[in-house]
Subunit: 329 residues, 4 copies
Amino acid sequence: MLRFGVLGAGRIGKMHAANLAAASTARLVAVADAIPEAAEAVAEATNAKAQSADEVIANPEVDAVLIASPTDTHADFIEQAVRAGKAVLCEKPVDLSSDRIAQCLEVVDAAGQPLMIAFNRRFDPNFAELKRRLDDGVVGDLETVTIVSRDPAPPSISYVERSGGLYRDMMIHDFDLARFFLGEEPVEVHAIGSVLVEPAIGEAGDVDTAMVMLRTASGKLCQISCSRRATYGYDQRVELHGAGGMLRAGNVLESTVEVATGTGFSFDPTLNFFIERYTDAYRLEIDAFVDAVESGKPPSPSGYDGLMAQRLADAASTARETGQPVRLD
Amino acid sequence: MLRFGVLGAGRIGKMHAANLAAASTARLVAVADAIPEAAEAVAEATNAKAQSADEVIANPEVDAVLIASPTDTHADFIEQAVRAGKAVLCEKPVDLSSDRIAQCLEVVDAAGQPLMIAFNRRFDPNFAELKRRLDDGVVGDLETVTIVSRDPAPPSISYVERSGGLYRDMMIHDFDLARFFLGEEPVEVHAIGSVLVEPAIGEAGDVDTAMVMLRTASGKLCQISCSRRATYGYDQRVELHGAGGMLRAGNVLESTVEVATGTGFSFDPTLNFFIERYTDAYRLEIDAFVDAVESGKPPSPSGYDGLMAQRLADAASTARETGQPVRLD
Amino acid sequence: MLRFGVLGAGRIGKMHAANLAAASTARLVAVADAIPEAAEAVAEATNAKAQSADEVIANPEVDAVLIASPTDTHADFIEQAVRAGKAVLCEKPVDLSSDRIAQCLEVVDAAGQPLMIAFNRRFDPNFAELKRRLDDGVVGDLETVTIVSRDPAPPSISYVERSGGLYRDMMIHDFDLARFFLGEEPVEVHAIGSVLVEPAIGEAGDVDTAMVMLRTASGKLCQISCSRRATYGYDQRVELHGAGGMLRAGNVLESTVEVATGTGFSFDPTLNFFIERYTDAYRLEIDAFVDAVESGKPPSPSGYDGLMAQRLADAASTARETGQPVRLD
Amino acid sequence: MLRFGVLGAGRIGKMHAANLAAASTARLVAVADAIPEAAEAVAEATNAKAQSADEVIANPEVDAVLIASPTDTHADFIEQAVRAGKAVLCEKPVDLSSDRIAQCLEVVDAAGQPLMIAFNRRFDPNFAELKRRLDDGVVGDLETVTIVSRDPAPPSISYVERSGGLYRDMMIHDFDLARFFLGEEPVEVHAIGSVLVEPAIGEAGDVDTAMVMLRTASGKLCQISCSRRATYGYDQRVELHGAGGMLRAGNVLESTVEVATGTGFSFDPTLNFFIERYTDAYRLEIDAFVDAVESGKPPSPSGYDGLMAQRLADAASTARETGQPVRLD
């Protein structure tokens, strides 16, 4: 039974708090938020305490800190928590600057505390099963990875402006999945992008439609396609092609209902909201973190995974801006 | 190279004539129809001769007669053709009266000529593959058969009036498929039916929506569901459940195109016209007939298969009318 | 916030207790079981009290009693609870005897307390959505209902012996769904059945493979197919055909993973365990009960629904045994 | 009724000859091949004449020449045929050199004869329907195109050596489809490739696994993925994403048979042979050519389409070799 403090009581923090309250392996002790009322509401619903972030991190009844506060606080909270001897589960990204991430990871290493980065998609039962099958050799040696990732609608411009751009904010999940499946580091990044959804995104210096190609040292190829719009719901697909065949994991529809009329057969849209789409993933992510901390195994995805995904996002941003591929070492 | 004469140059006869002209194992020699112009048009398009039915049957260049004329001429033409030493491929049914069929089969037996009944669905690549998998033991011992059969729209009332009723006209295909898959004879027939599509069908003494349950001596169970209406196209499905699993063969859609929009994912209707849906079946049926005649193997489905399907249709008609199940020996 | 007492801490009771503990609209107060240790374990995990059944029913802090004890205690507990002024949510069936159910419903009526029967499948998001679309007129007037229901494996013989038989134990769910979708009462029941899965089931006087046909007064037709075995998982499907098209709701697979190799494309089996398959249904069932009790609307499915499903099961049992259809008024 | 001469009686020429013999709008007059016996066999089967290529082109009974001879003869035969006043339907590519194609197109222009390039996939009913829906605005303005193209197995090394490389030999079909769907010219080509299937392909200077990204002037993005291997059959998919949704056209499976067992649900592989996969496309391609010639409309895909696809293949080959994107004007 691992005892948690949660930093951040917004949409994601609240969801994590509920999962911790329900988990048989975890107990929620305390919640903090910059808006005290938000922390109190969550605390009341889950029978936990509302405290300040400093109090949560210092709380001797807290074994592990789950960080779901705004991005620009992540690295500082991680450092403060590991120095206080806490295990940390931190929402992605650690920081928008790879250098700051690298610096933070040194502090984590020095403290010797476990840190896991919440790349939730690795824990989605579909993608996790895909990885198991791949590792089981069901399709032999992997040759190509294809990832499609489309959000139902673009975020607000104010969000876009402080997001670090599509590659760092949205495609970073796909970079993490690419590394997860490729099993080796990409050494070459090609990127193209356009503003087709929302002109204001272009005015903010970002793109809303983007494609990337990656190549690993051994010659595996990967392509990623992202869009800030998809009328039919949240679209998240992975296709792996290997010497022995193909593996795919697709979307989850709202129901299994099928309608046949004069215009043909129709099915529901995909689940439209990421918290609903990844309900199981968020729950299983906590199980994996608790398991790692309690067993002493290194948590995965690690801080290093967070750093490497960020470096790919940096490379893709540069490649898109310069029109030239970026090589990585 | 088997040489054919075709009796009947209507919709089905024309289609068979084109298939014979294209088949590498068959040659179309002559065509007859009660309307001479119809026969002539088909003959011209296929480089064959237009003759009277008597001439076709007597034609020494004709090895085999394909009968696609109106139902009430089938039994007579079969008898005339086998007496003239021809092999016969006859559209279903041989006759609306089981007694007349039995009598006709005696003539065929006496003549020693091969007779095949054109239950085309057995040759559909999907249903044929289903049977192969069943016989290969893919799902172990068969336990239940479920057949769904829906026409896009009801036929004309004048057709309904001389059709013998839904069980003899439409469900007879499903009775044949049921026997094909069950591999043993049903001994018990339960039937219910309603008039839900077209009141005039009820006024003609028939039903347009019908269900049947069959039981074989060894206890295998079968259910059949028919409707004279399906807005989404021709609907023809078979599901086999056995000790080791389930086998299904489904519909064929107009294309593989899929559309995803705000209302979800949609696919094309099923192929809407039986000649289009069973294009391959009609072609493969002729191959099977030619192969049987040339190799001397008994053709399948046989005249006996035609008789037994008719007897099930008779039993179902009675069961529906009396509200009591009918036992067969 | 409705306060619950749960009777029964077995597999189903435990699951309901966890759902009550997690629900934002319900609070779990007390749990009883014939085996006190079972009640205590559940109470501890959910922060509730372990009490005797009598204590739970008498507990002034309990507003509603959820009955998940053995079938032969249901009717008595219902009567005791409504007399104590509690609302009741009772697992199906109320009793194996329709007469006993009718008698119990009179007590409920006299007490004026709400009673809901836990036909969980009506709350499955897929079947519930199917009903909504039907009611919205998406396929026009309903003509036929087809229900397939297969369990992964037969229960123990000792269970079979006290189950009331396949029609009362297993197909009762399908009878309830049939009534749910048909929207009117069946007046005619045809049934056939066989022992194909487990000879000992036949020795116990029951069948393990069964089909039923129903007809309503207005002529709607329904067919149900049940098997005590399905190697590919729990198989639960409903197909509705109407004047304007077809509606279907299918199975839920273990994941969306698809594998393509030389033998073709393959997908996961269906969810194999009913508690897993109907996770959402059990949760939504409690929401619906709480909503009915708090709003004063009559709960649905009602005690009457429980009685009518039982009467269909009785009729089907008789029809199968006598080989003759049973008419209902 | 357009009268055809066919040059080339190999696998593709034979198939075209059979389609011409069966088409109601075309007549096959003469066939030529470098191996006279090959031409004679086809002529006999189709009731046509075997002639030399020169005789076919000079034959006054021939209105149109279908060129299915080896690639290095295409440009010369096109020039000879149009100078002889024939309409021409030529298998792709016109030539491996874009300059030679441009030169040949000048001769065609000067002769004023219609020339159609046989990019058969445009006529596949699935891809053609995809284009119709796109043009109908079903998904609004197009944003991205994703094409997957995998052959069941690599060709012989001797074929690879004279093929012009994967981009010119295999991906050229995908470049044509990309242009077909994008509706505007790509201005930027990024390419990566690897040797993962067959080392000898690498020794021949080619790749067997390749990805490309294209960008048009207006910012539409396209990605293409090719592999010389797919264990599950011929894999040909197109996905179009637009402001209003997504359109996809997928593979065609060998049958609709589905098997459910303890390991899950399985379906057939895709049609494994391109002539079988594109049966309808080859037939419809001839209909379109005949229609264009007889109506005087410019044939599509045109010689210019052939040239532009080749230029994209040239650009991709260069981009892959240099590691730098290629800009086109």
